[in-house]
């Protein structure tokens, strides 16, 4: 079937207004936020409800046409690039917040709702939706669940998977299932909710999400500590946690990042320091105060060259902004920015930071590293010239070594961005052949025709 005929069949399901086949539209959906990956789909379709999603998938299975589900397209692992053409299934028309329940501490939303919109709606009820990925202003809840998005609160509060209670999912063969629900306790059957969370659109299409909310903490504060190098900061983090404190926020920037951020945002950061540690806690004001003071003390005892506690909410916001702008600040150093996501057990953070620095030097690359010290999630970010093919080659080699180093230290190739197409070559190294084979069998059980997001995780 050619793409005109396919588009006609799809128009019969969603209406002509919600199907695109023009070259320019296909080009716009040929990529997501991942550099260096691009492939045009044959058709883009915007379903308006679950029944339409089911009809599209049934058709696609019947015709063996690939389908790539997509939210806001902010993912960084090329998980929404239609590498094999076919249909891009855009869920941005499904933007209803269906329910926020204070008594039950949960929200029910359609997948196209932005994470920020959910967080704001929850805040309106005095509640907190915990996962706060850096992309929350644009990324969708559906996309966050599909990639098990992380954020700045991982250590104390966990990540997206810890907050997904239930899903409505359309299987590639067209059946609509509801996993989990409004229950905190439910062991009836395999935990498909967890399996689908982070499945990157390879097993089913999420059409509704039920998430857990928590009461909004009364106060939140942050502070900052400087160290001679990232390794010293890593040791201090280990000491803080050993002292029995679980900070809500514990982020770090290396020297390259501090300099780039200061140059961009002029926040008065100490650019002489080798590493910056941003820590924070939330809860009752007295508890937060005590916690911050104690973290500051432990940092000082473990080699911090300076410690500052934010005096106000505004000052805290400014410090968090420094962490959040580290990627864009770095991106200004070159025309191509490759952001990675290696993760190691927390005690290995310092060693991993050293390894990354050595690998960068060895390959003559500028790699700034920032990330979540609390959960060992590092974002080594390579900045280079988009026309320098030699440097791009060297960066691929460098990242290969970085992933190998992470695995060697007991870590993983991706902490929160996902496997997608970008990390697929490294997946077997992380999982081993037997586990990867099991992933493929699971994939086949869900998707016998292999139409959902081919060329990605599990396929």
């Amino acid at each position: 079937m050619d793409s005109t005929e396919l588009a006609g069949r799809l128009a019969g399901i969603v209406g002509e207004r919600h199907v695109r086949t023009a070259e320019g539209d296909l080009e716009a959906y040929a990529r997501d936020a991942t550099p260096l990956f691009r492939h045009r789909p044959d058709v883009v379709v915007f379903p308006g409800d679950t029944a339409e999603v089911a009809a599209v998938l049934t058709l696609a299975t019947e015709l063996s046409v690939p389908v790539v589900p997509r939210g806001a397209g902010s993912n960084l692992a090329a998980a929404t690039v239609p590498l094999h053409g076919g249909i891009v299934l855009v869920l941005t028309r499904l933007t209803e917040i269906l329910e926020i329940s204070g008594p039950e501490l949960l929200a029910r939303v359609q997948p196209g709702v932005s994470t920020k919109a959910l967080a704001e709606a929850a805040a309106g009820h005095g509640l907190l939706y915990v996962p706060d990925p850096g992309s929350q202003v644009v990324s969708t809840v559906g996309g966050n669940v599909a990639t098990c998005a992380g954020g700045l609160r991982g250590l104390k509060y966990g990540v997206t998977r810890n907050y997904v209670l239930g899903l409505e999912v359309v299987l590639p063969t067209g059946e609509v299932i509801r996993t989990g629900g409004r229950l905190w306790k439910d062991v009836a059957g395999y935990d498909l909710t967890r399996l689908l969370t982070g499945s990157e659109g390879t097993l089913g299409v999420i059409t509704e999400v039920t998430v857990a909310l928590v009461p909004k903490p009364a106060a939140a504060r942050t502070g900052v500590a400087y160290f001679a190098d990232l390794a010293a900061a890593g040791r201090a983090v280990a000491a803080v946690i050993e002292a029995g404190i679980t900070p809500a926020t514990c982020e770090f920037l290396d020297r390259t990042c501090v300099a780039a951020v200061e140059d961009y945002a002029h926040l008065g950061l100490d650019t002489e320091a080798g590493a910056l540690l941003l820590f924070g806690d939330d809860g009752d004001p007295e508890v937060v105060q005590a916690s911050l003071t104690r973290i500051g003390q432990v940092c000082t005892e473990h080699g911090a060259t300076g410690v500052t506690l934010a005096e106000s909410v505004a000052a805290s916001e400014e410090l968090l902004a420094a962490r959040r702008c580290s990627l864009p600040a770095l991106s200004r150093l070159g025309s191509l920015t490759i952001l990675e996501d290696a993760t190691v057990p927390r005690p290995k953070l310092a060693e991993m930071a050293d390894r990354i620095a050595a690998i960068a030097a060895n390959h003559r690359l500028t790699i700034g590293t920032f990330g979540h010290a609390g959960d060992g999630n590092l974002h080594p970010t390579c900045v280079l010239d988009v026309h320098d093919t030699d440097a791009i080659e060297r960066s691929h080699a460098a990242f290969g070594e970085i992933f190998a180093a992470a695995i060697e230290l007991g870590g993983t190739i991706t902490g929160e961005h996902g496997v997608g197409a970008a990390k697929l070559p490294y997946l077997e190294r992380r999982l081993g052949a037997d586990q990867l084979a099991l992933l493929r069998r699971i994939k086949t059980a869900f998707d016998p025709a292999g139409i959902l997001n081919p060329g990605k995780l599990g396929s």
Binding site: R20, A22, E23, G24, D25, E27, A28, Y29, A30, R31, D32, A33, P35, F46, A72, G73, S74, V90, T92, R93, G112, S114, K116, S135, V137, V138, S139, C325, L327, P328, S331, R332, S335, L336, T337, V386
Partner: protein
């Protein structure tokens, strides 16, 4: 197209495609489609630059027209992409000859036909350029071309508030509309000519003109009126007295007793806010003039967008619609504007409503001082 690049590579490569601009874009809000978002449009620009799409591609052409050019994507861009510059480069190429929207051709032709002499004459007849000369060495007040024709009372109010301002009748158009409609070279030359006609500091009551002139002449030459007043160049803002209204909502004379302070909202001028960074100052001034009410999404485009409301009335109304709903709920006495395009768009839409649309300069001139 090889060897003859449309876009400045440095500007184009800034974009990381992170998508943070999507929620800020009024046309993406309308469609939810990637191609009508700033990131999607940059993807199209790159495809054209790299010969994957032709400039004549229908989507490329349609998107170059559908974009409001409001530049709301710029302040939210973490990577500092200068989208407004890219859009000008896009339209310079895209909108040549027959590909230029018919109405844009007609509009620009009309402005050329009317000529500066015509506009100057109209300005004098309608009283924008008062006969008073202002004070030697004082800044020049730019009369604008749209504003001079449609709203001469804005310049009159500005000069009533600060009589020292010089406003010679012979002054050109700043060329902002030309720059936004595929003639950035002409727009630049017009701005430079205006800069020569009005030496020294130029004060403008039009947010759109202020952005274009600031870009062409520099921030040390050009200042928008509310920013200039807020910086203490007119009456001391602290001495401004609130505008008091009687029980029927009619303003009381400046020093009368009783009444209630007016409820006043503001519609930001997109280019003033997104390109020049002026948004706090008009709010500060309004807070002296009555009860300031923040209009939801005041920073979002009202759909006027320079000549957009003339060229694409249907899309313009679609962009405006949610704003009108919000305004109906607020039940303001005044909605202040700082740009003639927004003035025309909102005054037209709110005709018959209780909320009066006025330029901030008019409100300032109507208020008493201590």
């Amino acid at each position: 197209m090889a060897g003859d690049k449309i876009f400045d590579d440095d500007l184009l490569s800034r974009c990381m495609s992170c998508g943070f601009c999507l929620p800020s874009c009024p046309t993406y809000q309308l469609t939810g489609e990637e191609a009508s978002s700033p990131r999607g449009r940059i993807t199209l620009m790159r495809a054209v630059q790299e010969d994957r799409l032709d400039v004549t591609d229908p989507t490329v052409l349609a998107q170059s027209e559908f974009c409001l050019g409001c530049r709301a994507c710029e302040p939210v861009c973490p990577a500092g992409v200068q989208y407004g510059q890219l859009l000008e480069q896009w339209r310079d190429t895209e909108w040549q000859g027959r590909r230029r929207p018919l109405l844009a051709r007609a509009l620009m032709a009309m402005m050329s036909w009317l000529g500066m002499a015509g506009i100057t004459l109209l300005g004098v007849v309608r009283g924008a350029a008062l006969t008073r000369r202002g004070t030697a060495d004082a800044p020049h007040l730019m009369l604008g071309c749209v504003e001079r024709v449609l709203y001469p009372r804005v310049s009159r109010s500005a000069r009533r508030l600060v009589p020292a301002l010089r406003a010679p009748a012979v002054q050109g158009c700043c060329g902002a509309l030309h720059a936004h409609n595929g003639e950035s070279g002409k727009g630049r030359r017009m701005a430079q000519r205006l800069g020569r006609q009005l030496p020294g500091t130029i004060v403008t009551t039009s947010g759109g003109c202020s952005a274009h002139l600031t870009h062409e002449l520099g921030a040390d030459r050009v200042v928008e009126f509310s920013a200039w007043i807020a910086a203490g160049n007119g009456p001391d803002p602290a001495s401004l007295r609130p505008i008091m209204l009687d029980e029927r909502g009619k303003p009381l004379p400046p020093h009368a007793s009783g009444g209630r302070p007016a409820r006043i909202g503001l519609q930001d001028s997109c280019h003033l806010r997104n390109a020049v960074g002026v948004w706090r100052q008009p709010r500060e001034l309004i807070a002296h003039l009555g009860e300031y009410v923040e209009v939801p999404n005041a920073a979002g485009c009202c759909g006027a967008a320079g000549s957009y409301s003339v060229l694409r009335p249907k899309d313009s109304r679609a962009v405006l619609a949610p704003k009108l709903d919000a305004l109906a709920e607020l039940d303001l006495d005044y909605l202040a504007v700082v740009n003639p395009g927004c003035y025309r768009q909102l005054a037209g839409a709110l005709k018959g409503s209780r909320t009066r649309v006025v330029h901030l300069a008019e409100l300032l001139a109507a208020a008493g001082t201590d």
